[in-house]
């Protein structure tokens, strides 16, 4: 479960700063698929970054599974990201020198998963995203859709509590985008992982169980 209380984020700029998030209060139940909707600059990515502890809030609290993650040390943050949070980026962000298999395996190394377990889990995840045949391909040898599938498998590597997907279909064609969203939705239902997905595409919002709409850093609509 994710609980956000009185969250605000101000970027220092000039005398006043720029307010990216204003007094956000949000609770997301475990296994929920929530679309964070809004136009560019509405604060979607900042909200995901703060939930993913990539950025610290200016004020307020973020809790994941009852644990406050908003004021952790650098090492604790790294530990949290490795175990509890999976990221799916708009630009895929695969490590270019590693194969698909190694990219999925990488987060498992960070938490010292035993070799045999790693091997089985990587193959299982690649199988679930339909890329078992491409396990030894480098990212440069894969299409955009395939890369994003590898990134999804990587995000699930350490069985996280939550997956944060920031416009995961922005760099793929429409058909592939639909496939990606269906894959994420299927994994969300199958594995029970909470899914927060930032988008401004109405067709993707329709797939989500809940839509939270942001405007100028504030929640203006919550379908729940």
């Amino acid at each position: 479960m994710i609980k956000i209380k009185n969250l605000s984020k101000i970027y220092p700029l000039g005398a006043l700063g720029v307010s990216a998030l204003k007094n956000i209060n949000l609770t997301v139940a475990t296994s929920q698929f929530v679309a964070i909707a809004g136009a560019s600059g509405s604060g979607k990515s900042t909200l995901l970054n703060v939930i993913g502890s990539v950025e610290q809030p200016t004020t307020g609290i973020v809790q994941i599974d009852e644990k406050d993650i908003s004021r952790l040390s650098n090492d604790d943050v790294a530990h949290l990201r490795a175990r509890r949070i999976g990221f799916v980026f708009q630009t895929f962000n695969l490590l270019p020198t590693l194969t698909a298999y190694e990219n999925v395996e990488f987060p498992m190394h960070l938490i010292h998963t035993p070799a045999a377990e790693r091997h089985d889990r990587v193959l299982s995840l690649l199988n679930q995203v339909g890329l078992e045949r491409f396990s030894h391909h480098k990212p440069s040898q894969l299409s955009g859709g395939q890369r994003q599938r590898v990134a999804i498998a990587r995000a699930l590597a350490n069985s996280p509590s939550v997956i944060l997907a920031d416009e995961p279909t922005a760099n793929v064609d429409r058909t592939t985008g639909i496939e990606i969203i269906q894959l994420l939705k299927a994994l969300n239902q199958k594995m029970g992982v909470t899914l927060l997905l930032a988008t401004h595409d109405p067709s993707i919002m329709q797939q989500a169980g809940r839509v939270v709409e942001l405007l100028d850093g504030q929640i203006v609509k919550d379908s729940q």
């Binding site: 650098n74 790294a78 990201r81 490795a82 980026f89 270019p96 395996e105 190394h109 960070l110 938490i111």
Partner: protein, 407 residues
């Protein structure tokens, strides 16, 4: 995994890695060639000096080194044979050479010049015979009338091989004595001042002239110069155990070796400074490469940290990349350095006369295991040190800010 990632990352931008490896390798080669040249110069200078002048170890009667200059005949080793027999059995001792030096006058009829004479045993002085550069004539054949004259002295006297000369000196008790001699050859050493006043004659001829059976010093020649300290200690223990009245001195502690020892230190300091310059040049190149690698991969560093990589692991990644560059550059540099050293040594570097010398010589590049290790370690250290600052920079990046570079 960080290890694997680091290894693959260095081959990502092959041309940049090649340039960095070239810089590290060149530094390694430069250290080897400069060091090998200086090692060879030092080796040739000291070995020549040891072989043609001073020996590896010298044994004197106690008191000679302090008072022998004023009273050279009061501290003679009267019966050197028993001691020489014992020392001969010590490991690494090749042979022993007794010597007797004195000052005198050398007259060729028209000209009479002061000279420093040294009585040697031509039958045992094989190192001296091999090392002596004969300008004209041949080395001593043991006949008591044949002498060798330094080329500067011969020139000053306008004397040449075959000329009859008279050697005049004081006997041990102070009486004047003279001996007829024939110049068997003229010789040159690396020391011009020595060549301008030195003569060498058979030990037996010197002993007759001075009316003594003793010698001033016994020179010990070894199979390797590196064994000098070990054998000096063994001889010292032998002398101490038998309560003998002798001093034993390694070559480098003798007053005669002062110039050579100082020259060695001078060259070593030059090499030290040279190494420092090479270090700085190579480090600047590697820092530049590592900085470029960090700048190009800011987005990727953001991804690594978003996945849960700690700042220490990010730092380790870049330091490891530096380490791999150092390993590869060091290995390649050492290999190329050895090949170049062999080629240069085969050709030889013609060198002009050293200061105070009249002889030209040919320098080589010595291949010394210690120097190879220094060059390799230097490459590693240069690459490691150069990667620390960029690695720290990478580890201090803000994740969110770094991730924005992917867009």
């Amino acid at each position: 995994m960080i290890f694997k990632l680091a290894l693959r990352n260095i081959f990502r931008n092959r041309s940049r890695t090649a340039i960095t490896l070239l810089a590290i390798g060149s530094g390694c080669v430069a250290i080897q060639l400069a060091g090998g040249f200086i090692e060879d110069t030092i080796h040739q200078a000291s070995e020549n000096f040891i072989r043609e002048r001073i020996g590896h170890i010298r044994i004197y009667r106690k008191g000679f080194l302090e008072k022998g200059l004023l009273h050279p005949f009061d501290y003679l080793i009267e019966d050197p044979l028993p001691l020489m027999t014992q020392i001969k059995s010590i490991a690494h001792v090749r042979y022993l050479a007794p010597r007797l030096a004195f000052s005198g006058l050398l007259s060729s009829g028209d000209t009479t010049t002061a000279c420093l004479a040294e009585g040697i045993d031509p039958a045992v002085e094989t190192e001296l015979k091999a090392a002596t550069h004969m300008e004209a004539g041949t080395f001593l054949d043991g006949q008591d009338v044949h002498i060798l004259v330094g080329k500067g002295l011969a020139k000053a006297m306008a004397a040449s091989v075959g000329d009859a000369v008279v050697l005049v000196t004081n006997t041990r008790r102070g009486a004047l004595n003279a001996s007829d001699a024939v110049i068997q050859g003229t010789f040159g050493t690396l020391d011009k001042a020595f060549d301008d006043q030195a003569i060498r004659l058979p030990l037996s001829m010197a002993q007759k002239l001075l009316r003594t059976g003793g010698v001033q010093t016994i020179l010990v020649f070894l199979d390797q110069t590196g064994r000098t300290d070990e054998v000096t200690q063994a001889i010292g223990e032998l002398i101490q155990n038998q309560h003998l009245d002798y001093d034993v001195k390694p070559w480098y502690s003798l007053e005669e070796a002062d110039y050579v020892v100082k020259a060695i230190r001078f060259y070593q300091r030059i090499f030290f400074v040279l190494k420092g310059i090479i270090f700085i040049v190579v480090m600047l190149s590697v820092v530049n490469t590592m900085n470029m690698a960090v700048l190009e991969r800011i987005g990727e560093i953001g991804t690594l940290m978003a996945l849960g990589t700690t700042r220490q692991q990010v730092m380790r990644l870049f330091v490891l990349e530096g380490l791999f560059l150092g390993l590869l550059g060091g290995f390649a540099g050492c290999l190329v350095g050895v090949i170049l050293a062999c080629i240069i040594t085969k050709i030889g570097i013609p060198m002009p006369e050293a200061p105070g010398s009249t002889a030209t010589w040919v320098a080589h590049i010595a291949i010394v295991p210690g120097l190879l290790a220094t060059a390799f370690m230097s490459a590693m250290i240069m690459a490691l040190v150069s990667s620390v600052f960029p690695a720290m920079k990478a580890a201090q990046l803000e994740t969110a800010e770094a991730l924005r570079h992917n867009l």
